[in-house]
Every structure is written in structure tokens, then in C-alpha cells.
Amino acid sequence: MIADRLAAAFAVTLLAAPALAQGYAGLGSEAGADFRMPGRSALTFPEDHYAHPGFRIEWWYLTANLEGPDGTAYGVQWTLFRSALAPTAAEGWEADQIWLAHAALTTPDRHRHAERLARGGIGQAGVAEPFEAFIDNWAMTSTSADGDPLDALTLTANGADFAYDLSLEATGPLIFHGEDGYSVKSPAGQASRYYSQPFYEATGMLSLPSGEIAVTGSAWLDREWSSQPLAEDQSGWDWFSLNFETGAKLMAFGLRTDAEGTHFTSATWIEPDGTAEPYGDGAVTLTPLERGEVAGRTLPLQWRIELPARDLDVTTAPVNPGAWMGTSFPYWEGPVTVSGSHAGRGYLEMTGYD
């Protein structure tokens, strides 16, 4: 109980729960004088795959839509957050970087999740060269012999009642959101650096108390860092990463404003060949449809997504409505199926529904 409250305290401030819980980055509304502000310079690789301790918050966020031998749909989440107390990276117990990780495995009838916390500088968590993002025994490790470290990865995590071990191969290029990876989050201009690798083919094993399940599917990695939080009036966020059967993909998010419940939206349309087109506020509309009760909160479980510019009008439905992350800052994150003008599957994250 105390641990929960403690962790919640963490989330609220260190990881900027208004920020993270609302799906986004930052610490309170003030960025803090010593931290760097996201710029518009071109991202460079592999450097930008690694941690940016000069920025307040950062994450390596991977979701996978998987399928068992019998066609059952599964979802896997692996997230490593970095939150800085100071824009430095000291060695030893003196903590100035805090790491937090979430892992989840969703089946149609059960959602399992786990959480880890660690201080940086002691080797318990971090992002190391050659590329390995890790906390405890959870790791996202590059297996790419040459080329970009993110081209090939292994991914492991375990909790009290689940474990997974996946191999990921990228079949397309990195995608930059917004303007060359400068992603605007509010009308006031709050922004982050944001890029993705949405082209992973995944194979691997899920371990559940009932036994092991071989799975295949697709995965999507988001990389994002910032020192700026959300605007003060933004209360939460709804975020989609969708893979259509045509091979096209869509990233779309909406930041909800307290008063009106309206969205500040942003989207990136990704062609099967990796050509990406960003759409600014208002291009995509996110409409909550059916609401349901999860973990004592009322959440929109079905969404209508419209992107007229691409003749897109789809509805999403959760694989398991109970994909609630009862972690130190709680949120909903799980696999969805897509129907309508485009069929497919994807992942949905909803935060700030307290």
C-alpha cells in the first residue's frame, strides 16, 4: 500500500504525472531552468537512440500486436521512462536520474502488468552502448550487426505471473513526427522530440502460468524526449498507433483540454514504403463512442477516428477492455482491432481519466 502511494508520489512529480499520466512528458508546468529545451535541429543516429540526460523526461516505448498459433490476439507493452532530477548523469548512489519501467502482457481475458523503479548511475537501469535499454533484468537489446542499432532488437521482461521474450526485425525506415521529429503538443507551442520505428516484425515466446505460447506479429517503437510539460489546461491524452491491412500505418494523438474536453490533435500517416506525412491540429478527429467502466473509472473503450485527407473513417475496439495499467500512475493501454474504411489492429493509450 505504502509502496503504491510512494510510487504514485513519484509519478505525480518526478515523472510529471500531470505529464506522463496525461501521456506526456514533463514536470509540472515549469520545465526547470537548467534543462535543455527541445530544438528543431535534425536528429542524428545512433546518438539520439540513447539517453538525453540534459532533458527532463524521455522514453523508449514499445507495443506489439501478436497472434498465437490458434489465432488468438495478444498485446505486449515494454516501456522505459527516464526522469531527471538534474540535467547530469552522476555515477554511484547519488541519484540524479530516475528510471521507471512498465511491462504488460494482454490476452483477450486477462491483462498482466509489472513495474520497476531504479536510480541511474549504479548500473541497475539505463541505456548502454552497444544499444541496450534496461532496468533490472528487463531489456531491449540491439542484435543488429551493422546499420542502425534499432534495426534488430530482442525484448524481454517478466512480472510475477508472466514473462515474454521477443525478436524484432525492422522492415522499414524510422518515421519522424511533426516537423522532422519536432512534435508540437499544444496551441501554446509545447513540444517534444518524437520519432518511431513502426515497421517491426515480431516473433517470440510468451510465458504464462498456463504454459508458453509461440507468437508472431508486428511491433511499434516510440522514442520521445522533452523538458516541457503539457499546457496547464491539458488533462489527459488519447494515443493510437494503428497498422492497416493495406500496409499503411497511422499515428494519431489527441490532448484533451480540461474545460471543453476537446482535443488538440496531431497525426502521421505512414505509407507502406515508409513515406510519412504529418497532420497538424484538427486534421484528424477522435470521437469517443461507447464508454465502459474499467477499474472504477469510466473510459471510452470504442473510438471513431476520421482523417478525411486520407478518406479514413474507422472504429477501434479493445481486444481486452480491462487493459488497465494499475501502476503508480494508472492509465489504460492495450491492443485494439480496427474496422471501417480500413481494417487492421493497433494499440491505444488513454490517460488522465481519473
Binding site: A3, A9, T13, G92, W93, G159, S207
Partner: protein
């Protein structure tokens, strides 16, 4: 009818407000003492639980190795998937005695104190960053103004403990290594075996908390006192109820004759008693809370001083405690009123309102009491001789007191019989016979008096013995005139140089914490000096003990460690992995909860070359001591409290000592007071019942004044006899406390000293109490109108 009956029944109390007051006071006092003691015990226990939870003494397994675990151990285990969390434990003595518990809040299992970080991320950032101490409110007050890291209040922490981040703890304790790693109870799926990951060894903390066990004796002691007081209080209640029922016999008969069903009468009387119990119980709870709040700081001081147990000095109000207190009052009232109600229930409808022989004991009853008393006393003897444990020691005390109480009436009767030849004239003989006659009726009150007196003699003897031994020991132990603790080595060296100019001897000492036989202990390095050889109080020692201590081939251990670990002279004691030294001597170390080991300064500094030499004591002519203290403060720029005069230390130690037994003393006085009230109520009851005995004497020409004086004399005689019997009982009690309970509870044995002067005072107090108690009934007797006495004869008895 019911309404009329209620009014009739209650009218009695309107006419006898004093009796009502007595009943309520008795009940309230009984409840107050009992519930007060309960509140103190509950508060102390909750402090222990908090301490245990904070210190991780609960159920979590630990990984450790001699010398401590490292950061690498921790990271290796975490990277292998094992959920472990680091802990650094230690104590600091300056600027205040404080137990430091360094944790990693990011991986720590649920733990007391850390909830104070919740809801405020800045605090957590401070905790991890610049450093923050989480402490109980009273600890925060103690640390006010110190230069320790900033404090934040965590109400769920036990006093005397500071929870802080690993880094802060490392800095405060000047220690790199981790004390141990805790292992989360629930571990993730599919981990490699622990042995393949680390060479740290896994241990499960023992069940239960040491503190709770250690302090059991103290709480048992308090509970026994509480129970004693409650029992004595019930004697009062029983007398008051008996009296009230007796006087309302006519009312009962009239009500029954008027058609009030027996069932309803009994129900009404029971309801009346329950009502009184509720009123008095509520009063008693308030009083008990006040008593507990007043005594708690003293109890907390005692527990801290004797056991090092951190107990909050602040009382919380617990509704469960209040309900339990009321429950006990109701149960006690039911017990005390049962006999009276039973009598009413069996009373024939139109029986003449004759006073029954109130608790008249037959010869057979007395024999049975004697036999039971003999058996109990034999049991007490057997337990005392064979038992080693605390529970057995307390059981033998209980058997002793109960046996003595039961033996009292037969012994009093025997004594009065034996005194018969001494009686001169018919009045003297009548006085003795009448006293004998009164014994059964007064027996409950006299038993209460005996218990209170015996407890007083016993506890007084123990405390007195302890005080005398303790002051003598202090004089020896604090042989040096000045005690200096410097903040750093350079200051210490400068201060030693200054002191050496004036002093006969400067005696530096080293000290460090250490684990002996799994318990925390202190290792002290002492110089080879005549001061120690001549004055240091050894209980037992090898002939060459000081030589061996000086060259490091022998150690001295304190009595607590010696008895606790069952050591004997010559036994080797393991001080660290590769260091074993035989025990050369044992010294008394009263008031120290922990073990202590002393060795020569030379051998110790060889073992601990980095330990700073900060403390020293100074031998100097006592009259020159204050001047040197001032010089040290000024010239070596030592803070005021860094130089302590022997006299101050003694005064502080004695104050702690007095504080320690304050509670016992207070309870003692309260118990005696309650016993006095019990005697008074019994006498009041008797005074109206005894008219049939007195009326013939009056008729024979004895004046009421003389009758009253004889009554007083008889009561004083009984009190005197009770006191005489209470002295041996009390001394036996003291012996068991000193020779058995103290050894089991504290680890030290004290010589028993006798304080006959105290007994005399106690005897006078008992006589005064009894005298006061019988004064009023006697006065009433002198003012009795002759018509009342005449009516005795008219009433066909």
C-alpha cells in the same frame, strides 16, 4: 408499577448520597487504574510494532555477508531479476542518539516512514538528492536545531529512528557497505537460482520482535499492578453494593408485597447497577486517560532507559480501548453485584427483614481457605526455586500474593486467639472476640490492604536496593572528574594537550559499534590506568584481568552480555570474523540496554587504525574541575555540552533512575489509596449491621463513646496485624523480583537490601488509612440516637 418501583429503588441513593459516591468512586477508580495501565501498554506496544516495521524486523528475508554487501551485489541481483533492496543500518550518538536506516525508496518494500514521501515529489527529490531524514514527531523535536540533514515528520515511525536515503546514511555513518539486502516476498516469473547469482547468504529474521519480548516483563508488571488495582477497586464496589442491598431489604419486601414480580425487581436492580457502571466507567475512562497521559512520558523514559525501546511519549485515543474499559467495568460490576442479586432472587416473599450474617464464614470455610493458601504458597515456592523464565517468575509472584491473601483471615483469627490470654477484663476479651467475629466480614477489605501493603514493601525494597546499588556503582564508575567528547580529532588532540597541563591523568577512550553474537554491542578501548584498575566496578574477574585487557589477550564484558550469552570467565568471545578474545572479567553496567565489551586502548587502535580518538576523561582535583572545563571550552573551542562534569552525569543518571520508577511509585500510592477506600466501605457496611452486637453492650451500660473508641481500636488492631503479615510477604516479593525477575528481564542481579524504616512508615500509613476509614463510622456510632439501639430489641431479634 415499574415506574413506582424505579422511584422507590432510586430514592435510596437520594437519601444516601455518600454511599452512591462510594460506589461510583470505587468503580471509577478500578476502571481508571485498569484502563490507564492498558492505555500505557497499548501505546508502548504500538511503538514497538512501528519500530519493528521500520527496522524491517518483520518477515522479509535478508541477504548478507560478514563485512556487508556492496553496490555490485545489489546490481548483480537486480540485473538477474531478483527483487532486492539495499539497507544500511547504524547508530549515531551525536548530536543525538539516533538509529539511522538508509534505504532505496525506489526499490524498498512497503515500509514505515516512506509514506511521508507520498504526494509530494519535491520531498522525494530532496530525499534522493540533498538528503532528508524522516523521523517521528518527538524525534523531530529532539533534533531541533541540530546540523543533521533537514527533517520531515513521518507519524508512522517509531521515535529514535531516522529513515533516509542510502547516500545520506552512508555519509552520516561514514560507511560505504550495505548492511544487508531485503528480498521482496513475491519474486517474478522464472528467475535463476539465488545461489547461482550471489554468494550472499539468505536469512529469515526471527519471528516476533525482540523489543516486545524484552519488554514483556515490564508490561506484565504494569498489567499485574493494573489488575491488582482493579481487584481492589472491585472490593469497594462489592462492599458498596452489599451495603445498598442490605439497607433496601425492606424496600424490596414492600415492593414484592405490592405485586412487583421478582423477575422485574431483579431486572431493575441489574439495570440500576449497569447504569452506575456506565456512568462510573465513563468517569473512570477519563480519569484513566489522564493517569496514562501523565505517566506515559515516565514509562517511555523507563523503556528507553532500560531496554533502548523507542516509545512515544504521546498518548493516542483509541475507541477500542475505551469500549474494552467500559466492558471491563460492566463485567466487574456484574461480578461484584452477582452475590447481592442472587440473594434478592432467592429471598422469600415475606421474609422478615433480618440482616443476614454478612459473609459469615464458618469454621469449615476458614479451613478451606487455609488449605488453598497453603497449596498456593507451596506452588509459589516450587516455582521460585525451579523457574528461570519471566513468566514462571511472575506466576510464582501471583501464587505468592494470592496465597498470602487467602491465608490472611485464618492467620488473623489465629493471632487474635493467641492474643486472648493477654486480654484483661471482659471488655478486652470482648474486643478480641468481636475482632475475630469481624474478620470474615472484613476479610475482603483486609486482603486488599494486605496486597497493597505487600506490593508496597516488595516494590519499595526492590527500588531501594536498586537505588543504593546504582548510586554506589555510579560513584565507582564515574571515577573521573571530567568527560570530554570532541567533534573532530584535531580538536580532541588540542583539548587533551590542554587538559594534560593541569590534570593528574588524561584517559582517552575509543568506541565503535559491533555485532556480538548477532546482537548490537559497543566495543570500548580503555587505557591502562590506575583509575580503571582501582575503581572500575568488576563483579567477577580473573586475577590478571587488567593486564590481559591492556595487552589485548582478555576482554571485560558487561553483565547484560555476560548473562544474556551465558558466558563464563575464560570463554572466548567472537568480536569479528577473525578476532576472538577470552572473557577476563565482568562489570556491572546498569541502565545500558545493549551489550558492551572493553579492551585495552592499544590493541583496539591496532584493530581500528582509522577510528578517531574523540573522547577522553580527566582525573583532577574535584575543586579544579570546573576551571579546567571552562578552559577546555574556551581554549579548545569545545561546545558547552562537549565537556561534562562528573556531578552533572551523576545527576542526569539519577534523574533517569528516579524517572524509571516513578510509575511504579505512583501506582503503589494509588493502590494503597484504593485499599484504604475498600476498608472504609467495608466498615461502613459493617457499622449498621453490627448494631445487634453493640446494642447489648450499650444496654449493659457501655457508653456509645466508649463503644466507638473500641471500634476504632479493633480496626487499628486488624490493620496492624495485616501490616505485620504484609512485611514478610513483601520481602518475599522483593526477593523474587530481585533474584528472578530482574535477571530474566534486565540481565542484572542486585543485592537485596532492607529498609526497615520504610516499613515502619508504611505501617503508620496503613494505620492512618484504617484509622481514617473507621473514624467516620465510629463518629456515627457516638451520635446514634438511643432509639435506634432500643429498636434492636423491639424488633424481635
Amino acid at each position: 408499577m415499574t415506574r413506582a418501583a424505579i422511584l422507590a429503588l432510586l430514592s435510596h441513593w437520594r437519601r444516601q448520597p455518600l454511599q452512591l459516591a462510594m460506589l461510583l468512586i470505587g468503580l471509577a477508580l478500578a476502571t481508571a487504574l485498569w484502563s490507564g495501565v492498558q492505555a500505557i501498554n497499548a501505546e508502548a506496544r504500538s511503538s514497538y510494532d512501528r519500530a519493528a516495521a521500520t527496522l524491517g524486523q518483520d518477515t522479509l528475508d535478508r541477504l548478507s555477508r560478514p563485512g556487508g554487501a556492496t553496490l555490485e551485489d545489489f546490481v548483480t541481483l537486480r540485473r538477474a531479476g531478483w527483487l532486492v533492496s539495499p539497507v544500511i543500518e547504524g547508530r549515531i550518538a551525536e548530536p543525538a542518539r539516533l538509529q539511522i536506516l538508509g534505504v532505496d525508496p525506489l526499490t524498498a518494500p512497503p515500509q514505515a516512514g516512506l509514506s511521508a514521501l507520498a504526494g509530494d515529489g519535491d520531498i522525494l527529490a530532496d530525499f534522493l538528492g540533498p538528503g532528508l531524514l524522516l523521523v517521528a514527531p518527538e524525534t523531530a523535536a529532539e533534533l531541533e536545531g541540530s546540523d543533521l540533514p533537514p527533517r520531515r515528520i513521518a507519524p508512522d515511525l517509531a521515535p529514535g529512528i531516522a529513515v533516509t536515503d542510502i547516500t545520506t546514511a552512508q555519509a552520516l555513518l561514514d560507511r560505504e557497505r550495505l548492511s544487508y539486502l531485503t528480498l521482496a516476498p513475491e519474486q517474478p516469473f522464472g528467475l535463476p537460482p539465488l545461489e547461482s547469482v550471489t554468494d550472499l547468504s539468505r536469512s529469515t529474521p526471527e519471528d516476533g520482535t525482540d523489543l516486545a519480548e524484552l519488554t514483556d516483563s515490564f508490561h506484565l508488571n504494569l498489567t499485574a499492578f493494573g489488575l491488582l488495582a482493579f481487584g481492589v477497586g472491585l472490593f469497594i464496589v462489592q462492599s458498596a453494593i452489599g451495603l445498598a442491598f442490605e439497607q433496601r431489604r425492606q424496600t424490596f419486601r414492600t415492593l414484592r408485597a405490592l405485586g412487583l414480580p421478582l423477575r422485574r425487581l431483579v431486572l431493575l436492580l441489574a439495570a440500576e447497577l449497569a447504569g452506575f457502571a456506565l456512568i462510573a466507567g465513563t468517569l473512570g475512562l477519563a480519569l484513566g486517560y489522564a493517569i496514562a497521559a501523565a505517566l506515559l512520558p515516565g514509562v517511555a523514559g523507563t523503556l528507553r532507559g532500560l531496554y533502548g525501546a523507542p516509545v512515544s511519549g504521546v498518548l493516542d485515543f483509541d475507541p477500542v480501548w475505551a469500549l474494552a474499559g467500559l466492558g471491563i467495568t460492566l463485567a466487574g460490576t456484574a461480578l461484584a453485584g452477582a452475590q447481592a442479586l442472587w440473594t434478592v432472587a432467592r429471598m422469600p416473599l415475606l421474609a422478615p427483614a433480618q440482616p443476614r450474617a454478612w459473609a459469615m464464614a464458618s469454621a469449615r470455610m476458614l479451613t478451606m481457605q487455609g488449605v488453598a493458601a497453603g497449596l498456593l504458597l507451596a506452588l509459589a515456592l516450587g516455582l521460585t526455586l525451579t523457574a528461570e523464565s519471566l513468566i514462571a517468575a511472575f506466576a510464582s509472584l501471583a501464587a505468592l500474593l494470592l496465597g498470602a491473601a487467602l491465608a490472611l483471615p485464618p492467620l488473623l483469627i489465629a493471632a487474635l486467639r493467641a492474643a486472648r490470654p493477654l486480654a484483661r477484663g471482659p471488655v478486652g476479651e470482648w474486643l478480641l472476640a468481636d475482632a475475630r467475629q469481624q474478620v470474615p466480614a472484613l476479610s475482603l477489605a483486609l486482603m486488599a490492604l494486605l496486597l497493597a501493603l505487600a506490593a508496597n514493601v516488595g516494590v519499595g525494597t526492590m527500588v531501594g536496593s536498586f537505588r543504593t546499588t546504582f548510586t554506589g556503582w555510579l560513584d565507582q564508575r564515574l571515577a573521573a572528574e571530567l568527560y570530554v567528547t570532541a567533534p573532530d580529532e584535531a580538536t580532541a588532540a588540542r583539548a587533551r594537550a590542554i587538559a594534560a597541563e593541569d590534570a593528574r591523568a588524561v584517559l582517552p577512550t575509543l568506541s565503535t559499534d559491533l555485532d556480538v553474537l548477532g546482537r548490537p554491542a559497543t566495543l570500548v578501548g580503555v587505557p591502562d590506568a590506575p583509575t580503571y584498575r582501582e575503581d572500575f566496578p568488576l563483579i567477577d574477574a580473573a586475577p590478571d584481568a587488567w593486564d590481559r585487557v591492556a595487552d589485548g589477550s582478555g576482554i571485560l564484558v558487561n553483565e547484560q552480555l555476560y548473562r544474556g550469552a551465558d558466558l563464563s570467565l575464560g570463554n572466548p568471545l567472537r568480536l569479528s570474523e577473525d578476532w576472538q578474545v577470552p572473557v577476563a572479567g565482568v562489570y556491572a553496567d546498569y541502565g545500558n540496554p545493549a551489550g558492551e565489551v572493553r579492551i585495552g586502548l592499544g590493541p583496539m587502535s591496532e584493530r581500528y587504525p582509522d577510528l578517531p580518538l574523540l573522547r577522553f576523561s580527566v582525573r583532577i582535583d574535584p575543586e579544579d574541575a570546573p576551571a579546567l572545563a571552562d578552559r577546555l571550552r574556551q581554549e579548545a573551542s569545545l561546545p558547552d555540552q562537549a565537556v561534562v562534569n562528573q556531578a552533572e552525569v551523576k545527576a542526569i543518571s539519577l534523574r533517569v533512575f528516579e524517572q524509571t520508577f516513578l510509575v511504579t511509585g505512583a501506582l503503589n500510592v494509588l493502590t494503597l489509596g484504593v485499599a484504604g477506600i475498600a476498608v472504609l466501605t467495608s466498615l461502613l457496611t459493617l457499622s449498621s449491621l453490627r448494631l445487634p452486637q453493640l446494642a447489648p453492650l450499650w444496654a449493659l451500660g457501655m457508653r456509645p463513646g466508649r463503644l466507638a473508641r473500641l471500634d476504632v481500636a479493633r480496626t487499628l488492631l486488624l490493620a496492624l496485624l495485616t501490616w505485620v503479615l504484609s512485611v514478610p510477604v513483601g520481602l518475599t516479593l522483593a526477593w523474587v523480583l530481585l533474584a528472578k525477575v530482574n535477571v530474566a528481564a534486565f540481565g542484572w542481579r542486585l543485592p537485596m537490601l532492607l529498609f526497615p524504616g520504610d516499613w515502619l512508615w508504611l505501617g503508620l500509613a496503613a494505620l492512618a488509612a484504617a484509622g481514617l476509614a473507621c473514624l467516620w463510622p465510629a463518629l456515627r456510632l457516638t451520635r446514634l440516637p438511643p432509639s435506634r439501639l432500643l429498636r434492636i430489641f423491639a424488633n424481635d431479634r
